[in-house]
Every structure is written in structure tokens, then in C-alpha cells.
Assembly symmetry: C2
């Protein structure tokens, strides 16, 4: 009989899938499998179609297929992908299986389920498939597979359908690269297994035998360490090496340093041992290099290395811990005083005046310097407290009052520059927005559906970063918040330029204004305490002026914010409709760059005004 | 001749205005005025049409009109309104006058300009109009007007066209209510003037003569005080009374108390006088009543009332100032210690542990209690500093370590509840948004142009405020930020309800989630210091767990934020277009309530995660 052409092998995919689904629903796995194999339908569907049903019928599935090679085929085709979502979506109007609550990886779940099914049916018959389930797992369990092969060799099963160790190993080598398998066999520390794999491999016995023989001469822990190190499993290597006694500690310490396993190492030695101390010191050295001197200090302190701990704490300006350690050593009083002065100097540089004052007062016993630091930091109340505590009222006239008046001058001057800058930016912003709005309307008139002007506006400027007068101004007698956040914001703003006509000038102006408002709002606490100090010393006139100037500045900025931050929004929120508008043009008119939400990095959120922080004195008019 | 009907009096308004404008441009004020008066065009236009031109030609205007009654008519019709903006807008295509830079009120500007013009032309002829310019000012200058009338009476001018004092007063009484004029005449402290007005008025001489006679017997300052008090001009009254010598001080003090003129009063007496002290005390009493005890303390302290100042400072927990005053008194050591303990107790209640510790350590000399306060406040480093400063290492075992472990437990428990709450809210939010989106699409399908669903969603809920589990949780060993801001936020949220199905449930969920994130983010500093303390005392296990839990919570929340805060935005940003859409339906689909910007009070801005605040220890895995 002549072939009748290919016609009979043409199937309608949808019809076939429907049939496969029916079989699967009916637990007729064999029929489904045969059909899918023949028509090259991805076998994952067997599981994906109804994972719960499959897992409940794993034994059933094995029994129906009843073929090692078929099961292996299914196993090797397993992928994480859910084919009902990608290749074979459920037909419309079918209530799809809800996402099953099973956690974990699909491949691992299926492998584990089938292995347990096969083991309960006939572990000898299915041993090759069982090996496959180990190899296929997300993290292949090669050691376990090798162990099973080894078992076959040591205790050859009497069952007639059992495979030999030889066959099993051959199969494994078919699944896995031989060098990988050799390494993993080494990793079991079982030399029989290693030899078995080595013999099957193409490796030269002259190459591996000397190594294996050398290993055999070693003490067990050290042997394992050597193997792990050879396999670059440094964590395991360290664990074994730590059990090899003190004579190997130098080696361990070097391993720790080389591989930076400090944290692990500390967990392997008792906290009061000399090794623990040595490791802590090594760790501390590393941490100091990593600019983590404070944590280094903690490690050194707790293992009793006080002198080095002190150094680390001084290096990180952790003055409280430094002093604790100094008292514990104990440092003689004159050295303690010197240390305190050193640390105080550092803290003053960091504008941490209150802390510097504690050092000077309590450890250097120099109340005059302490008060000076507090006055320099505008910490008026605390300065006054020390003045009275040490009965040094003379300092009020010589230092405190002049400093108060200077602070008054610098604060009012600072407020004036901030006011001016806010107004200048606000005026310019209105101009820029008008220009952009004009440009927008012009472009919309031309009804370009892809909205190229949006791109035009959001294009990052390559222009030079405009100089920003605000951040240049530094006023004395004032604490300035962490530099780091300021630098970060500056970096973010690098692409923004205040230069007139730069593409993102409006965003740059908003950023600059937000910073101005923030810097003025931040003064609440400082102004409040300055006002109280001025009043106390009868400088009512200056206090009144400052209160007035600050209140005015805050009010002006708060009143200006809604227009500045919502002004742009209102402009663009009016839809451009009319006889010439189209669905696209209306849509485009809404999709203009908005000042909020969408362009987070370009337009900052409106600055917060902390009206909850009261600063005004009611006794000043 | 018979009347020819009204036809000739009908004019086209636009043509007339055009003619008036031409006259005004040509400085033909007389023609313009006559025409406008006849056709009842608002006379303000004479100025409004071109303010600069008018002011430059004020004399010209007066000369052209050359009529007291016409000038008075113009003056009395003056209003702040700009008629070119309201009644008589410039014709289209005319370059309108740009907003003139003149500051101040229009009425005042015109009055002053015309007065100076008339005075330079003929102050006698125009004296009635000059009086009008005083009366018409925003704040009528009645005293000046009266003074001018008085001048006419005392020195009757020889000019023939001058009006008599009699006539002028009559005219003034026509413009101003007689009682008001009488009061103002009294206010000039000029009895001649008073009598002149009184005689012209309908007042009974039996009524005012005794009062005037009584006044005449008084010492000048006291006389003025009596008049000002009679006219309820208490500030002026106080100023005059303060010049009346010590025998009247009690009266002054009562006036100050009655009228709460404390601030003014302090400015009227020298700072070292007994009166200043008495006023300060009275002011302080008032301030204490007004919950401003700290400011009361400042006033009392600076005038030497130390005992009362101390009381005020204690009342306002201004412990630094309280101690300064106590040292100044000086309080005996045992009383100072008691005071310190009292204040420390207050501060502990306010969760200001560090400050409480300073009091206990330095003034009550009780380092043990100081350390306890610091441990209670989770201020580990400072606690440890005192432990070593006072050589009390025993406290580490008895108190510090147990407190550290307790803090570890409470922090991990707190983190767990916050995690759970965040997830619960997030899940529910997704459900609510889906429901609303469905409702929105349904309503848009019906193409209702006025978008009533937006109203439906933004309608404030009248439902009960849902209980908010988050704010109920209080964890020990942790400083909690100012209650006030929390209460404020609570009040804002009152209309929001977390109850399922409440109209603003999504906004309420956002608020609740923002609070959760904020409260977790706020723990950075505290967790950091707890981690360091745990490591120092070898509690590496707990430290590791806490670092893990906190890192997880932060990461989970940070990862969830974009979806939560922008999820709604993305949903609504896809325009609903299609064959059935109309300009209205597209517009409506954009005008959905957005989660940001527009509905400020309902949807909070996304909470800030302060990634700049580093808290992790690199030595913990």
C-alpha cells in the first residue's frame, strides 16, 4: 500500500489540546502522554493543567506510564514556566485554575513527588528515574545521587529488575558533566565513590591518584578541609579546619583573611578563646580599612583588646564608647583629659557642639571651653546652665551676649537672602511656565499624536550645572544637618540646571525653592531658642525684629507654595477640547508632564512646613 | 417751542466712552467731566483711564473744573474699584494700561494729590474741598480736618474767597456724624475745638459742660489719659497715664490688666524700675494662665523675681532655666537635689530620658537613678558612659543586659505587628481599587458627562471612625515622637474610616499604611544603637535576628510602596478611548480622583523612607 500523504497527521491544535485536557481531567495520563509526545506538545502541561490533581495522582501517573524512559523524558522536559499561562492558555470562558497556594519551585515539587511515588512502588526498577529526579532539581543533588550509586555498588540489590552500580553511574555521567561529578564525589569525602567516578571518567590516574593518596594520609577534619579548599568551598573548609586544633589556627586565620570569612569564623570558636580574640583583631583591621571603625571597636572591646578598641572608637568619633574603654583601661587622668580634648575638637568640626561640651566639662574638666563650644553651637540654654552650674556669670557679659547679638544679625541676614532667592525663583518660574504653556499649545495645535514635546521637556539637560547660590551661604552659630543627605540631593540635581533656558529649568527652580523653604523651615527650633535668650537679656528690640522677619518669611513662602506647586498642574489639567480636537489631542493634553507623581526625580514633592513646631513668643509684638 | 421728545438724549454708550477717553487722553478734563456727569458715567474713570496722566495733571484738573462742588462730587464718588476692569473695560485690541506700579490705596492717592494741588492754587478758595480730601481717606483724618476748622476760627483769613470757620464746620457736620466728630474733637485735647463742635451739635450743654470742666482741672497728662480712656483709646491712654507719676501706677496697672496691654506697658517704664517689675509680675501671671509659663519665667527671671521665675520654669518643664534660677537664688544643696528629682520625674513622663539623666546625675548626684532613666529610654551608649564614669559595672549585669534583651523582644514583636498590618492593608487596598475601577468603567460606559462617581468617591464619610490597631500598640523602651503631631493627624483622618466599604476606605488605607511605614522607618536610629549594644555584649544571635527582621520589614515596605502609591495612578492614567468614546468620556476618564496632588487631605503623600540613615551592622549576617 502506498502512503496516503501526510493528511492524516494534521490535527487541529485546539481540538487536540481539548482532548488532552479531558484525558488529564480524567486521570488518563498514559493517553495524554502518548498523544503529547507524538504531537510534540510540551509535557509540562501534564502538571500545569492541574497541579493539585497531578500531585495527588503521582503514583497513578508512574504506574500508567510504567516506563523508565518515559518518566525520564517527562522529568528532563520539566521547566519552571507555567505552560497554561504561556503556550497553552485556557480557552476563554473556562474558569481557570486559581493560582495554587503551593509554595516553592515547580520543578522541585514535581521531582520530589515523583521520586517518593517511585520509591514506594519499586525503588530498584525506577532507580534511574530516581537519579534523574535528584539531578533535575533546581540545585542538583549530585551528592545524593552519587551516594545512591555507591549504595548499589556496596550492597548490590537482589531484585532482578535492579540496575547495577555500573549502569547507574553510566547513566549519571550521561546526565552530568564528568568533571562536575568528580568534584561532587570528592565533596562526599567518600574515596570509594571518588575512585568509582574517576575510573569511569577519562581522567589520567597519574593525575588523581597521588592527590587521593595524599588525602588519605590526612587527619579526617584536615582531610575534609583540604578537599573543600580544593573545591573552593571555603565556608565548609573553614568549618573543618576549625576542628583541627591550635596548630592549624594560623592556616585558618589566613583562610579567613583571604576569603573574608570573619563573621563565620567568629561563630566557630568559643568567645573566650585566644583564637576568637585573634580573629576579632583581624576582623577589626579589615573593618577599619572598610571605614567601619566603630564596629571594629565593638569587636575589639568585647574581646578585651581595649587599647586597640580605643583607637578604633577615636577614629570613628564614637566618643562615648571611647571614654568607656578609656575608663576601663584605665587611662591616667591627664591622658583622659587629653583624649577628651581631642575628641571634643573632632566633634566641634562635625558641628556636634553639645557632645563636645560634655567631653570638655566632664572629662577635660574645663567648663570655660565647654561653655565656649555651646555658645559657638548656639546652644544657648545649655550654655547658660553651665554658666550657673560653675558660677561663671562673668561669661555672660564677655561671650554670651555678644554671641547672641551676632546670631541675631546672621540669622536676619540669612533670612533676607532666602527671601530674595525664593522671590527671584518664583518670578522666573512663572515666566518659564508661561513659555512652556505657549509652546505646548502651539504643538497641540499641530495635533502630533506622539506628543514629542513631552520628550523635549523631559530630556535631561547636558548643560553645565548652574551655580546654586543658596548652598553657598553658610551662617555661623547654626547647626547644619547631615552633609550626606545634602550631597545626595545635589547629585540627584546634577542633571538639573538653573541656567535660563535649560530644558528642565522649571524642575531646577522647584528643587531650588524646595531647598530654600526647607532651610528656612528648619530654623524654627533655633529661632525659638534664640528669641528666648534675647528676651532674657532684655534684647527685646532685636527679638521683635527677628520674630517679625522670620514670621514674614515663613508666611510668604507658605502662601507662595500652592501656586508654585499646583500652578503647573492646574494649567495642564484643563483639557484642550474644541471643534478641532481629536481623541489623541485630548489624551495628549492630559499626558503633559505633570509637576507631581510621574516625574518623581525631576519635580520634588512640595516641601513640608512644620507648622506643628511652635517658635513664636507671644510676649513679642 | 415744544419738547422734541427724549430722542436727543439717547447716546450709544460705546461711542460716548470713546469720546470721553479721547478727552481724557487730551487732558480735556472739563469736557469729560461735564459729559460724564450728564450721562451718569462713573467719575472714577477720570482717574482709572490713565492714573499716571491724571496725577501729573492734578492742578490742571482742578483749574479746569474750577468748582468746589464739582471737585467735591468727584471726591465723594471715589471708590477703590478700578472701573476700567469692571464697568468700562478697554475696547478689544487696545493696549491696556499695564498695572501701574503705584503702591497704596487709590482713594488715598487721589485725595492727597488733589489736596496738594488745591493748596498750591488757593487754599482758602478750596478749603471745603480740602476738608473733603481729609474726610474721604481710607482712615478719615478727622482730627486734621477739625484742626483746619479751628485754624480758620482762630486766625480768620483775610482772603475774600475764604470760608468762615462756621461754614466749614457746618460742611464737616454734613459729611460726618456729629457724635463721631465730637469724639474726634475731644481726641485733639483742644477744648476750643470741642466746644465749637459741641455747640454745633444737638448735644445738651448740661451733659458735656461738666465733663469738660472736670477735664480742665486735671494735670495735662492725666487729662489726656482721661479723654483717651473715655474714647476707648486704651493704648494712648496708657501712654499718657504712664507719665503721671508713681501715684497713678496702680491705676495704670489695672488698665494694663483690664486691657491686656502688658507688652506696651513694659515699653513705657525703664527696665530697672519697680513699675517694670510689677508689670512683669502681672504679665507673668497672665501668661501662666495662658499656658505660657516658660515665657512668664523669662520675664520674672530678668526682673529679678527669681522665686516666682523658678515656679514658672518648673511648671513648664523648662528644667535648664529652672536650675539656673535655682543656682542664682541660691537654693541649698538638699533642696536643689529635690528640685532636680522632681523635674527628672516630669521629664521621664515626657519620655525625655537623656535630660532626666543629666538632672539625676549632676544635680541629684544619683548616678544609679540616672543610669536607670537612660536604660528605660533605650539610650544605651549614654547609659554605658555613666556606668564607666561612675565605675558601676555591676549595673551591666543587673539592669543593662536584661533591658537589652527585653528591648530586642519588644522591637521584634513590634516589627511583626507592623508587617502584618502593612500586608493586610495592602491586600485590602487592591480589592477596594479593583471594585472602584469596576464601578468607574461601568459609569463611564453610561457616558455621564458630569462625572458623578467622582463626587461619590470624594464624599466625606459619615461612618464611624474605624478603630486603628496601629496607634494602640505601644512598645516600651522606645521614645515616641511628639504626641501633638499624632493627634493632629488623627483629627485629619477622622472623616476617613478603615471600615470595609466606607466611601473613602482606600484613602483611609493609604493613611494607615503611611503611618505604619513611617513608624517602622523611624526606628532606624533606635535599632542601630540596639544592635551595637547587643553585639557588644555578645548577643550576636539576637542582633542577627533583629537586623534580619528589620531589614526584611523595610525592604518589604519599600518594595510595596510604588504599587500602593502609584498603582491607582496607573490604573486611571490609561485613557478610555474606543469607538464609543466622546470628548467628554475621555476627559472624564482623566478627571478621576487621583491618588496624589489634587486630593491632598484624603490621600497622603507617599511616606519617605530615609535610606540615607544607615542602621545595618556589616558584622552581622
Amino acid at each position: 500500500q502506498m502512503p496516503r500523504g501526510n493528511l492524516e497527521t494534521i490535527h487541529h491544535r485546539a481540538l487536540v489540546l481539548a482532548q488532552v485536557r479531558k484525558w488529564l481531567d480524567g486521570r488518563m495520563f498514559r493517553e495524554a502522554f502518548e498523544c503529547m509526545r507524538k504531537l510534540r506538545i510540551n509535557l509540562n502541561l501534564i502538571y500545569d493543567h492541574n497541579p493539585k490533581l497531578f500531585l495527588e495522582n503521582a503514583q497513578n501517573f508512574v504506574r500508567q506510564l510504567d516506563s523508565i524512559s518515559h518518566i525520564n523524558l517527562f522529568l528532563t522536559e520539566l521547566k519552571e514556566e507555567d505552560t497554561t499561562m504561556t503556550m497553552y492558555p485556557f480557552p476563554v470562558n473556562t474558569p481557570g485554575q486559581l493560582a495554587t497556594g503551593t509554595s516553592g519551585k515547580k520543578v522541585d515539587i514535581v521531582c520530589d513527588a515523583l521520586r517518593s511515588a517511585m520509591e514506594s512502588i519499586d525503588q530498584y526498577k525506577y532507580s534511574l528515574s530516581i537519579l534523574t529526579t535528584h539531578v533535575k532539581k533546581t540545585v542538583p543533588e549530585l551528592e545524593v545521587a552519587l551516594q545512591k550509586v555507591h549504595e548499589l555498588r556496596v550492597n548490590p540489590p537482589s531484585a532482578t529488575n535492579a540496575v547495577s552500580a555500573e549502569e547507574a553511574l553510566k547513566y549519571l555521567l550521561f546526565l552530568v558533566n564528568v568533571n562536575e561529578l568528580y568534584d561532587h564525589s570528592l565533596g562526599t569525602y567518600d574515596f570509594d565513590l571518588v575512585l568509582m567516578v574517576a575510573e569511569k571518567s577519562q581522567k589520567d590516574p597519574k593525575e588523581y591518584l597521588p592527590f587521593l593518596n595524599m588525602l588519605k594520609t590526612l587527619e579526617p577534619s584536615y582531610q575534609r578541609y583540604t578537599i573543600d579548599k580544593h573545591l573552593k568551598r571555603y565556608r565548609k573548609a573553614l568549618r573543618h579546619l576549625s576542628k583541627c586544633g591550635e596548630e592549624h589556627f594560623t592556616e585558618a586565620l589566613n583562610l579567613v583573611k583571604d576569603q573574608r570569612l570573619y563573621g563565620e569564623a567568629l561563630g566557630l570558636y568559643p568567645a573566650n578563646s585566644s583564637q576568637y580574640k585573634a580573629l576579632s583583631c583581624a576582623y577589626a583591621e579589615y573593618l577599619v580599612e572598610q571605614q567601619q571603625a566603630e564596629q571594629a571597636g565593638l569587636l575589639l572591646w568585647r574581646c578585651g583588646e581595649t587599647a586597640r578598641a580605643l583607637q578604633a572608637f577615636v577614629g570613628s568619633a564614637s566618643w562615648r564608647s571611647a571614654l568607656c574603654v578609656a575608663e576601663q583601661i584605665p587611662l591616667p587622668p591627664d591622658q583622659l583629659a587629653l583624649l577628651a580634648r581631642d575628641l571634643a575638637e573632632k566633634l566641634v568640626e562635625l558641628r556636634r557642639y553639645t557632645e563636645a561640651a560634655i567631653l570638655l566639662e566632664q572629662y577635660a574638666k574645663d567648663c570655660e571651653e565647654a561653655i565656649s563650644a555651646l555658645i559657638a553651637g548656639a546652644v544657648w540654654e545649655e550654655a547658660l546652665r553651665l554658666v550657673y552650674l560653675y558660677n561663671r556669670q562673668d561669661i555672660i557679659e564677655t561671650n554670651l551676649k555678644p554671641a547672641l547679638l551676632e546670631a541675631f544679625s546672621s540669622q536676619t541676614a540669612f533670612l533676607e537672602t532666602q527671601r530674595t532667592m525664593f522671590i527671584r525663583h518664583k518670578t522666573r518660574l512663572a515666566v518659564v511656565r508661561e513659555l512652556k504653556e505657549k509652546a505646548r499649545l502651539q504643538l497641540l495645535d499641530e495635533d502630533v499624536p506622539d506628543c514629542p514635546e513631552a520628550e523635549l521637556y523631559s530630556e535631561a539637560s547636558s548643560a553645565m550645572t548652574g551655580s546654586h547660590a543658596g548652598s553657598k551661604y553658610s551662617h555661623s552659630n547654626s547647626r547644619i544637618s547631615s552633609r550626606s543627605s545634602k550631597n545626595r540631593r545635589k547629585a540627584e540635581r546634577k542633571k538639573l540646571s538653573l541656567k535660563e533656558g535649560s530644558p528642565l529649568e522649571d524642575a531646577a527652580l522647584l528643587h531650588a525653592m524646595a531647598e530654600v523653604v526647607q532651610s528656612v523651615d528648619k530654623m524654627r527650633e533655633e529661632v525659638h531658642s534664640l528669641l528666648k535668650a534675647l528676651v532674657l537679656f532684655q534684647f527685646d528690640g532685636q527679638a521683635g525684629k527677628l520674630q517679625h522677619a522670620y514670621g514674614d518669611a515663613l508666611q510668604m513662602m507658605e502662601a507662595g507654595l500652592p501656586e508654585v506647586w499646583e500652578g503647573g498642574l492646574q494649567l495642564t489639567q484643563a483639557p484642550i477640547t474644541g471643534p478641532n480636537s481629536t481623541a489623541n489631542s485630548i489624551t495628549a493634553s492630559f499626558q503633559q508632564p505633570r509637576p507631581s507623581a510621574t516625574q518623581e526625580s525631576e519635580t520634588p514633592p512640595p516641601p513640608k512646613i512644620r507648622n506643628a513646631v511652635k517658635w513664636k513668643l507671644s510676649i513679642l509684638k
